[in-house]
Amino acid sequence: MKIEPMKLSMHVNLDEFIPATNEDKEYLVRMRPSTTFFKDGMKRLKKNKIAMTAIIILIVIVLACIIVPAVWPYKYDQMLGVNPGSAVDPSFANLHPFQLGTTEKKLAAAGQFVFPHIFGTDDSGRDYFIRVVYGTRISLLVGFFASLIVLVIGLLVGSIAGYCGGKVDMVLMRIVDIIYSLPDTLMIILLASVLKLTLGTAIEGTVFEKLGSNMISLFIVFGALYWVSMARLIRGQILSLKEQEYVLAAQTSGAKGGWIIKKHMIPNCISVIIISTALQIPSAIFTESYLSFLGLGVNAPMPSLGSLASDALNGLSSYTYRLVVPAVIISLIVLSLNLFGDGLRDAFDPKLNA
């Protein structure tokens, strides 16, 4: 075999060592600041007209719920015809929109300004507008906190199952499977109707008493039943992320666990988690109003959109607007939340953008 003589000469192209001209340097100038994942998603979200309309509607409703009860001259549980020291004035009950009670009419005739009852009053003489606003507030709060409970429990169980794997994972996932296959609404009605009775005495004298036993049982029921799909989702996310090449790459280049979690795991699953929490809120509001409609929701005199709609059925022929108002608001909230959640998913789920 003939051995090639070793080549020692170097072939250097001297042209490559000429200093760059200004023209060449222009290619390296950053035309615009580099975009982050969050900025990129926000840009996509802002372009989505439906999602932006939905969020504006939601912001208006939320602001109204916060501000209106503070400045409105009537309270949600204030029966206008009832004054201490005098007989009950029946003229305040069942007022039509913008009508006034007798004492108010006198004041108005005397030239004084009387704040109008925009939606009239209900059969106990309570200003209906403020009850609707307050009911919206209750419904939104229930939706928000119920989703938070679902998120916390789901995150806990899901990440434990995902990280530990093996037997822990198997046992937890079988429990999830069983709860998942239970008919949820039936179980909720059952639990809510029983908890309503048992909790009443248990929470007497504690901070929870103010919330009412029905509200607490609502949260317990949510915490007990609705976390399963969240746990499944988070477990799946963690399992698939653990197997990703970039996690392996980070590990081989010496990254510590904390760094991988902070830089790779959280950014990659946070959007999915936030989106499914956002989509949980309308379903919680849905369930709360459903239970309130059946009389298992909030305690009287506290209103919620469901209980307002349920009460309105009694005077349906003469006071139809009392049903229409909460019905429109609840549909608007659920629709906006769903549309906004969809918009979030389209904007922030990188797997869908491909």
């Binding site: 499977d177 069983i178 296959s181 239970l182 008919p183 609404t185 039936l186 179980m187 009605i189 059952l190 639990l191 109707s193 029983v194 009775l197 048992t198 005495t201 309308p282 849905f286 109003s289 459903y290 409609f293 059946l294 009389g295 298992l296 469901g306 709609a309 349920s310 309105a312 059925l313 349906l316 022929s317 139809t320 049903l323 229409v324 019905a327 609840i330 549909s331 659920v334 629709l335 769903n338 549309l339």
Partner: protein, 309 residues
Amino acid sequence: MNQKTLSYILKRILMAIFTIWVVITITFFVMHAVPGGPFLGEKAISESATKALEAKYGMDKPLMTQYWTYLTSIVTKLDFGPSLKQRGQTVIAIISDGMKTSVKLGLIAAALALILGTVLGSFAALRRNKAVDKVIMVITTAFVSMPSFIMGSLLLALFAVKLRWFPANGSTAAGLVLPIITLSLYPMAYITRLTRSSMLDVLGQDYIRTAKAKGVSGRDIIFKHALKNSLIPVITYCGPMIAGIVTGSLVVEQIYAVPGIGRAFVNSITGRDYPLIMGTTIVLAVLIVVMNLISDILYKVVDPRISFD
């Protein structure tokens, strides 16, 4: 059907039986955790009378014995015991009485939802981005975001109270029209959206293009290739749809005063008729679990591409 399919079906059936057992157990122990007991609401009952009543209904025995008796009598004799509030009536008699109306109502609503949903969905998909499509999508979006009790109350207000086209009371045949419409609107809207998106997906497939290239007529492509395949996801929705109609009927029957099982359930909760609550929960739960089971199995059997694991 091969070995794998059979073992999958067997596994699902066992799982469903287990779920039903869990439902019965939860229901039983939850109901017995209520303080006061079922005779608390009746006035002027002496202690000895309460004792006698408890002995009559077997409530003086230990809890586990009661549980075992309850479980065996359900499984072997379909016996849920007597109703506490409606004297002389057994729970199973009340349930089967209510079921007659409710099943009729639910089946008509489900059929209506399936037929209208698939037709409207395919229609929207075939006229994608045209005005018809957009109108259908806007209406269905509104329908899916409206809870059944809101829909029911609004329809009642409009058609029964204002226009007086239908009676507000659901105990007559004409009175069942509005409850059926209420129950079917949500699943109809959902099926429409489902059919539309899966039809659009199928229409983009290669085999549709192949069929077109071979010169198959438009109608044959739609009915023989596209529609059949795009209906597969609809089958999976059938289980949840029945569950939705069942839970929807609880409030809808309440709104329209339909003498069905949903109203019996809600009344049993307000009346604290424990055996009736337990019986109704179990019967409805079995219905939902079985429907989910059937639609799951059907889904896998119909579509050979789906793997079993």
